[in-house]
Symmetry: C2
Subunit: 408 residues, 2 copies
Amino acid sequence: MALIVQKYGGTSVGTVERIQEVAKKVIKHQQAGNDLIIVVSAMSGETNRLVALANELNDHPAGRELDVLLSTGEQVTIALLCMALQQQGVNASSFTGSQVRILTDDTHNKARIMEIDADNIRSALTKGHVVVVAGFQGCDQYGNITTLGRGGSDTTAVALAAALNADECQIYTDVDGVYTTDPRVVPEARRLDQITYEEMLEMASLGAKVLQIRSVEFARNHNVPLRVLSSFKEGGGTLISAEDPTMTMMEKAVISGIAFSRDEAKLTMLGVPDHPGIATQILGPIAKQNIEVDMIIQNTGHDSTTDFTFTVHRNDYQAALKILQQTADTLGAREVICDDKIVKVSVVGIGMRSHAGIANTMFETLANENINICMISTSEIKISVVVDEKYLELAVRSLHSAFNLEHE
Amino acid sequence: MALIVQKYGGTSVGTVERIQEVAKKVIKHQQAGNDLIIVVSAMSGETNRLVALANELNDHPAGRELDVLLSTGEQVTIALLCMALQQQGVNASSFTGSQVRILTDDTHNKARIMEIDADNIRSALTKGHVVVVAGFQGCDQYGNITTLGRGGSDTTAVALAAALNADECQIYTDVDGVYTTDPRVVPEARRLDQITYEEMLEMASLGAKVLQIRSVEFARNHNVPLRVLSSFKEGGGTLISAEDPTMTMMEKAVISGIAFSRDEAKLTMLGVPDHPGIATQILGPIAKQNIEVDMIIQNTGHDSTTDFTFTVHRNDYQAALKILQQTADTLGAREVICDDKIVKVSVVGIGMRSHAGIANTMFETLANENINICMISTSEIKISVVVDEKYLELAVRSLHSAFNLEHE
């Protein structure tokens, strides 16, 4: 008998009918002999409705009260799902975050889980109940309700799986798994049966937004096998787990997928006097405004000056540019140039660690298509390039084909 | 500095605008130098919406899950009211029933309050915060969420006032106080400034549904001064409190009001063999079906038989009649007669204890109007008669006038 944690998002429980569908799915897994913990989100639309009410009453609702308000969304769903299960004759018990108890720090609206006391859940499981837990929420040491921030239900599921040493944590979404790339760009994109945490992290952070990065990190840190599945379609989904030696040594493809992001903009300071501490002088003022910087490249210069380039989210482009121009004046740099019509394309794969020539294949493929590379950045398991946004589809398709990703 | 508990019902917090109005009212009371605990219900319509969802998923939703579901209604309101107060620069903290903590027994959907641990509230009051508490809810000793049943928010308010030894418990409703009778029947009906718990209980149970009977009983048992006021209209409302000696001894009116109920039906078993135990033989089967019996009259009989009459709520009329006919067969009674076109009219007043002739004035007044009395029942502070329903308005108006209730 396995212990499985399943998480159903807002769309999967968006109506009474969908809650009944979830109940059926849960019962099937129970009849297969599993113990089940079900984590649910608020019914789709509910969180937005509550936020709108809050905003009507307060320009800047206090975090504590916002959490009291928003946590009701999941509380409604746990009760309704239990009712649906009970209607089918299945014993079920609901638990709010406080009731579990999921202890968090006191950072309202984006609290972090400190500890899970799963005694209440264990006792319900022992009685043969399906346990239904409100995602996205916990309480601090004083009993104040906290929320984990949007997407926090995934984190709840993974944290419960870790605390209870579950055999698997299944995340049900509206996609049926992780693909070699976005099927809207490459129709031949293939669903991956298996992928490592590290690959998933690279894929997720680059735009394949199937899972919250945070929940994948959590799963990796606690070695919880994570599976992404569709709520609406049958299938095995994609298993995300630690690197299995057999996986990399055997026929495992070198590259798992092609990720990309359209949300980038690039800024360059040319002719910066090259002396120690220049990077922090340039990026410090950016960081102070809470602007996240993605790729950073500093070219070796000449004439004792250097060129410094970085990318930010397009939403932050204007703000970053303004700051950078001030910094350039202060530092006596020659010029600031920038471009928000760029995209980032990455090949991701744990296999590239043991295979030479991946970078070369990538650059060659792009060169054959006459795609000019503006920036390059590499990590252990990915190579990213920045190219003009008009080349996005061409770059992704040609790389997908070059690494033979359409075939298993 | 006084400590005041205020309760606002669902209509008073039914929209964002009304919540803002409540916030203004609360701030006015705070600026007058009071400590404030505000108890709120779910926004009007919300509880019905949640019940409808539950019923779509389960024919008989389990009490535990129904409470998890319904308690979200008040939880939304406490957060929103705090936000409205904070927007005006007033410090405020919300508390669910579990957070207070309002400990109840484990009778889901109609739990009874066992104990209130008000430490969290006290500490928030000490910090100068307005405390906002979710009405209608608590938790059992295992942390399961419970609800007190519909109208339970009044009980929450009174219980908090008792636990914290508040100076007054103010119940804001859509009427501006307790009247000598229903103003829709007697336009001259007058708002009472003051009334005793006992009188209010008689008035409430007879149809003047301003307050939940249960909260009045609770207030009486703990001697909490209770005031009924309008959410929408200025005014002092009606204070409900213990009998004040000066109140009955001075010019206090003998009668406080005329109550009535249209919801009654009367059943009579004629020619019942008159022997000990006959009452329980007749009423036992009725009670077994959870039918509540109101007035009971047994006339002295002749021929060693007796006539036995009682009234029930009209909704229970058909069921009660069926049972009674079976019992009549068993007992060998002569006949069952019944009438569901009757009403009950009562004069209520603590003053009647020290004044003779009240009953006579009542009967004389009705006789002068040619109103035939079908049943009479008396208690310490009320006299009730059952009459044909067509006489209701005439009876109430003539009694209101006979006891001079239109004048203070």
